[in-house]
């Protein structure tokens, strides 16, 4: 027997509509930048930090922090969409395109990977189809709004995949594991969608 909700007199969401076409279905615009984390903020020293791309056969290519910063950077300005329904427009980032990193990895003998599992300090993981992190759609971002990415937002570096729900933009990212078959990450194991396209409202498995 379902609950029939009681309508609260005079209660309405104060979330206003945003310009048509800019907001995916079910979202509202925020000017804040809410902090959501699945665990405590990791503290990794830049001296020991590295980013790696690995394949199933065990080949891997690594960059130290200094090596990452020497790669060509982009400064994308993008809208971001959280599955908890807030969207934030025109966020400014600085980072290295995942295409650049994958090119480097292939040159280093890393192969395969129709899917990737991004992994982070603290144990967070998230899975994505490789097509969603290539073709200029994804970065390893270390700058936000003109300053170094703060720890609560994923610093020193996070994955940035703005065309998908923001839980795919793994905070405190340390690498990508290339996989032949899709494997669910932290939130996906609990029922969130394997791809997460906000324009198709892919919030949960089966959407």
């Amino acid at each position: 027997m379902p609950d029939i909700p009681f309508i609260a007199r005079g209660f309405h969401s104060h979330r206003t509509a945003a310009p048509a076409g800019r907001l995916p279905p079910g979202q509202y615009e925020t000017r804040d930048f809410p902090v959501l984390s699945a665990g405590p903020t990791p503290r990794t020293s830049l001296a020991t930090w590295d980013f790696s791309i690995r394949d199933a056969a065990g080949h891997s290519v690594k960059w130290s922090w200094d090596e990452l910063l020497q790669l060509p950077h982009d400064t994308p300005t993008v809208d971001i969409h959280c599955v908890t329904k807030w969207s934030k427009f025109d966020t400014k980032w600085e980072g290295v395109s995942v295409d650049t990193l994958l090119d480097g990895a292939r040159a280093g003998g890393v192969t395969g990977g129709e899917f990737v599992l991004a992994f982070s300090d603290g144990g967070y993981t998230t899975n994505l189809p490789i097509a969603d992190v290539t073709g200029g759609k994804a970065w390893v971002a270390f700058g936000y709004d003109g300053a170094p990415l703060p720890p609560e937002h994923g610093g020193p570096a996070r994955l940035l995949v703005p065309h998908l729900y923001f839980w795919k933009s793994a905070k405190w990212v340390r690498g990508l594991q290339l996989m032949a078959r899709d494997q669910p990450g932290f939130w996906e194991q609990l029922g969130y969608h394997d791809r997460g396209d906000p324009w198709r409202e892919q919030r949960y498995q089966g959407d």
Binding site: T41, W187, L190, Y204
Partner: protein, 90 residues
């Protein structure tokens, strides 16, 4: 603001846990699968915010209990609990 300032504890998950168990479990004693720490569910640290309930061990940060509500399902991962002792007044 660090994520630690935003975290809550097992008390905040009490309502969600009450949907799972027929009784309150914040006073129940959980053993962490990661490090063996034993303590009340009320002392677990709660992350997850609006995405779900993630209760972590205050000693080793292992995710002890995870709950996500998806359409039609309450999905629970209790793999971080090796033992749970629930007070029983029956």
């Amino acid at each position: 603001m660090q994520t630690e300032e935003m975290r809550l504890d097992g008390n905040a998950a009490a309502g969600a846990l009450r949907e799972l168990f027929a009784t309150d479990v914040t006073a129940a004693i959980a053993t962490c699968m990661g490090c063996g720490t034993v303590g009340p569910v009320g002392t677990l640290l709660e992350y997850g915010h609006a995405m779900g309930v993630i209760l972590r061990c205050p000693s080793c940060d292992t995710a002890v209990l995870r709950i996500v509500r998806t359409p039609g399902w309450l999905r629970v991962d209790a793999s971080g609990i090796s033992r749970l002792m629930i007070p029983d007044s029956a």
